[in-house]
């Protein structure tokens, strides 16, 4: 069997003494579109922070291809992190740099590509997200949806093996959200990128997700992991059914 790309074992997340989630165990395979879902305030974004190295787990481990992420030295961890791309909720573009400079920054820092090569790749990445011609704009001069797409272009700058998305469709109109979903699927298909998405948009969950974990804020642990469509069809847990049907599903009929 193929080694899972990301493995999480017995993860406990806490701020000081305040436990947010405990006992998280799941694996993400190469090429998965993995959804982290759950109600508001259940710790979805915190889980993402633990996966991308912004917050250290209180207990438990995160493995990338069997490499223990949090036990590694800071240097090794930085190397692992360089293979991630992260799209933050509001794009997190550097406001003092143009879009071109934003995207070129990681390439200039971490590759030995020539200036013209970087410029070509940068234009190509902007074109990929539908922003051809916007190289010389500052983030403040474009709309929120465009900022998000530019953030995606920056996340993809180094051809990452794993792309993390924090609420990619928040603040986007349905059509733009759909286009972003299509883009995510195309990236996965053409580049084989593993994709991890934090979201509670049902439409996205079902259209792109191939695997998922469901976090619950009351029991402070995960209730299920697996393909979201399968979860909807097979799960007996009323919370999951309610979440996946926007509270309209009747659990008794399923049983």
């Amino acid at each position: 069997m193929q080694t899972p790309h990301i493995t999480v074992t017995d993860l406990t997340m806490a701020y000081g003494d305040f436990v947010i989630q405990h006992g998280l165990n799941f694996t993400i395979d190469r090429g998965d579109v993995f959804i982290i879902m759950g109600g508001s305030g259940c710790g979805k974004s915190t889980l993402l922070k633990h996966l991308i190295g912004l917050q250290r787990p209180a207990k438990g481990d995160v493995f990338y291809n069997r490499r223990n992420f949090w036990q590694a030295t800071a240097e090794e961890r930085t190397k692992l992190m360089r293979r991630f791309g992260v799209l933050y909720q509001s794009g997190a573009l550097f406001s003092s740099l143009t879009l071109a400079e934003n995207i070129a920054l990681p390439m200039g820092e971490f590759t030995d590509l020539s200036r013209s090569e970087i410029a070509d790749i940068m234009s190509y990445k902007l074109a990929l997200v539908g922003l051809a011609g916007f190289e010389d704009y500052y983030p403040a001069e474009i709309s929120g949806g465009m900022q998000k797409r530019a953030g995606l272009a920056r996340a993809m700058a180094l051809d990452p093996e794993i792309l993390f998305f924090d609420e990619p469709s928040a603040g986007l109109d349905p059509v733009s959200a759909r286009l972003l979903d299509d883009l995510i699927i195309k990236l996965k298909e053409t580049l084989g990128t593993t994709i991890v998405v934090v979201t509670h948009e049902l439409a996205s969950i079902f259209s792109i997700g191939t695997n998922s974990v469901f976090l619950d804020s009351e029991t402070k642990t995960m209730l299920a992991t697996g393909n979201p469509k399968k979860l909807l069809a097979e799960s007996k847990d009323s919370k999951i059914i309610q979440f996946l049907t926007r509270g309209e599903g009747n659990v008794n009929n399923e049983a």
């Binding site: 406001s95 003092s96 013209s116 070509d120 790749i121 010389d136 051809d159 195309k186 053409t190």
Partner: protein, 386 residues
């Protein structure tokens, strides 16, 4: 992504242009195009294509391609753009599906005319000068608007109609008052010390050490106390006001206040300005005493003057006029610092760098205003002989 086969390993990374008909060309990409590979500059390929014109069809072939990364689609996009500009048809069917998909995606939203910024034109010196003047006028207009709004808010306050939370005022008073005491103590004590040393050497030569007390107490009370506290507070509180209000602007908090029908001038700016106007004269008074004390330290320890003599001389030479001039100055400085800080904060742009610019501008403006106002007041006092 990983097309590898034993017989393709040996081929070097390269681009071959071959005629496959009178006006048709094949572009063959070979070898490893992934990280670390050195590619033939795309400009050279475009140059060769130029020499081979006219062309009807260009077909891209990748049988001998091994690994590739983002540079490959970026490279191909350049070639495709060039061919489209020349009216040459490009056949991409020889590419792996993945690359075709990416190229289609990249060309799905074509660039709209007018979106691209034309490179910054070289401006003449006259143009730049004009722009600077216009910006200055715009700035002045902003200042006048802000002063007008502040006066209106103050008028509302006098009528008892101003809407702000008294807790905010007390917090601001604490920040601009008590919390500034340590730094004011240190700086004014040291300034008094320095003043004493500056005069002491010369005065001691005439045996006139006792006049060190005159020098230090007059200098501190009339000038240095007010000036040093103002400079400290400009850096400490003025910058904080600009950064706080600027960040609130970035977070749309000021918009939120406006839509609630609460005037941000009353709610945010008034408590801050009031706090500084109330506290700076008090700090100045405190700094005056600290400065005199600093002078006393030097004089009594190194120049053979007793503490009693020093304070007697200081009390003889400094009268209430001198104190009131210092206090009046610090009152003016407080208004200037609060105005510069709050105005820069309220006019802040909506990005992280704009907040930094606002804080910088607040400090620079305050210090310029302070020094200019100080000179004017000193000149007037000199004319009036007070």
């Amino acid at each position: 992504m990983n097309v590898t086969a034993a017989n393709r390993q040996s081929l070097p990374t390269d681009v071959y242009l071959e005629h496959i008909g009178a006006d048709a060309l094949s572009i063959r990409l070979t070898g490893n195009w992934a990280h670390g590979a050195t590619l033939k500059p795309v400009g050279e390929v475009l140059g060769e294509l130029d020499n081979l014109q006219p062309l009807r069809l260009v077909s891209v072939q990748t049988h001998d391609l091994q690994k590739w990364d983002s540079r490959l689609p970026a490279y191909l996009l350049k070639i495709i753009d060039y061919c489209q500009a020349k009216g040459t048809e490009v056949d991409l069917s020889g590419l792996p599906e993945g690359i075709q998909g990416l190229l289609n995606l990249a060309r799905a939203v074509p660039e709209r005319a007018g979106d691209r910024r034309t490179g910054a034109k070289k401006m003449s010196a006259l143009y730049k000068f004009g722009e600077t003047v216009l910006n200055g006028l715009q700035d002045a207009k902003g200042l006048i608007t802000f002063i007008g709004e502040a006066v209106l808010a103050f008028w509302a306050l006098l009528q008892g109609k101003a809407r702000f939370r008294s807790v905010d005022l007390f917090l601001c008073v604490q920040e601009a008052g008590a919390e500034a005491l340590p730094i004011v103590t240190l700086i004014s004590l040291l300034v008094g010390l320095i003043l004493a040393f500056v005069g002491a050497v010369q005065l001691a030569m005439f045996g006139a050490q006792i006049y060190i007390a005159d020098l230090v107490s007059l200098g501190t009370v009339r000038e240095m106390g007010a000036l040093m506290t103002a400079v400290i507070m400009a850096g400490r509180t003025g910058a904080a006001y600009a950064a706080q209000l600027g960040t609130m602007n970035v977070n749309s908090e000021i918009d939120a206040l406006k839509t609630m029908g609460i005037s941000p001038m009353q709610f945010l700016v008034m408590p801050r300005m009031l706090a500084l106007v109330l506290m700076l004269p008090l700090l100045c008074l405190y700094a005056d005493f600290m400065g005199i004390l600093g002078g006393a330290l030097v004089t009594t320890s190194a120049f053979d003057v007793s503490l009693n003599q020093y304070f007697y001389e200081a009390r003889r030479i400094v009268d209430l006029y001198d104190f009131s001039i210092g206090l009046f100055k610090s009152l003016v400085f407080a208004v200037l610092i609060a105005t510069a800080g709050c105005m820069r904060g309220m006019q802040c742009g909506r990005s992280a760098s704009a907040v930094g610019d606002a804080a910088t501008a607040a400090v620079v403006n305050s210090i310029v205003y302070i020094v200019v106002a100080d000179s004017i007041i000193t000149l007037i006092c000199n004319e009036l002989n007070i």
